[in-house]
């Protein structure tokens, strides 16, 4: 399936790009992150990272669908 991935803040720097389209066998958002971490060795998992799918905050266990836009948020630090 085709998925659009977007990276923010630290993740953008680690991935070396702010977005990309990936062809992928399918699975959860957490599995997609692991796949992207293999493609971008600098991209590292973080305990407090968050994920949004199509601009909605989501659980890492959410199964992705064709044409989803997945947003990987490193640990947030507002305020």
């Amino acid at each position: 399936m085709k998925i659009r991935v977007r990276y923010f803040a630290l993740f953008r720097e680690q991935a070396g790009c702010d977005s990309e389209y990936v062809n992928w066998t399918g699975g959860t958002a957490a599995e997609l992150f692991q796949e992207m971490a293999e493609r971008h060795p600098s991209l590292q998992n973080q305990a407090a990272a968050l994920v949004a799918i199509n601009d909605e905050m989501s659980a890492w266990e959410t199964a992705l669908k064709e044409d989803d836009e997945v947003l990987f948020f490193p640990p947030v630090a507002g305020g």
Binding site: A9, F33, M57, P74, P75, A77, G78
Partner: protein
């Protein structure tokens, strides 16, 4: 708008005016400022990155939750994005209520939730010329497992 993101100086007076109500006997205002130090390092300035589509939606949810959970009348929160200098206001929360207890509690709830749920990141620029994303290193050191969620 109850929650908004601003790329210019926050108008705190306007935020206060937005929650003004003659039924209210209490106004609690929290301002978060850019301080000159963090974890032993001297900070020169700070940069906020905000992903607005989700921050605005989730921010509005936080305000709605506060209005439901606490006996308050009005609440607004404004968060900055972009490059901020020392002493500037990074975030303001204004809550009005009939009585002060609920206003304090709701204000605390809104700022705490804003810090942990919204896609907002800050990069500190130190006087040494080094800059880094705040918090991320601690999390990386703690390790990560998405499967544990």
């Amino acid at each position: 708008m109850k929650f908004s993101v601003s790329d210019t100086v926050i108008d705190v007076d306007a935020a206060r005016a937005a929650v003004a109500d003659r039924h209210c006997g209490a106004l609690v205002v929290f301002e978060g400022w850019i301080r000159n130090h963090n974890e032993g390092q001297e900070v020169e300035r700070l940069e906020y990155e905000v992903y607005r589509p989700v921050a605005e939606k989730e921010g509005a949810k936080i305000i709605d939750e506060a209005l439901t959970r606490f006996a308050i009348s009005h609440a607004v929160c404004i968060h900055r994005e972009g490059l901020l200098e020392l002493g500037e206001c990074a975030v303001v929360v204004c809550v009005s209520a009939a009585h002060r207890d609920a206003a304090f509690d709701a204000c605390r709830y809104i700022i705490d939730q804003t810090k942990t749920r919204l896609p907002i990141w800050k990069k500190e620029h130190y006087v040494t010329g080094v800059s880094e994303w705040v918090n991320c290193e601690n999390c990386a050191a703690a390790g990560h497992s998405h499967g544990d969620r």
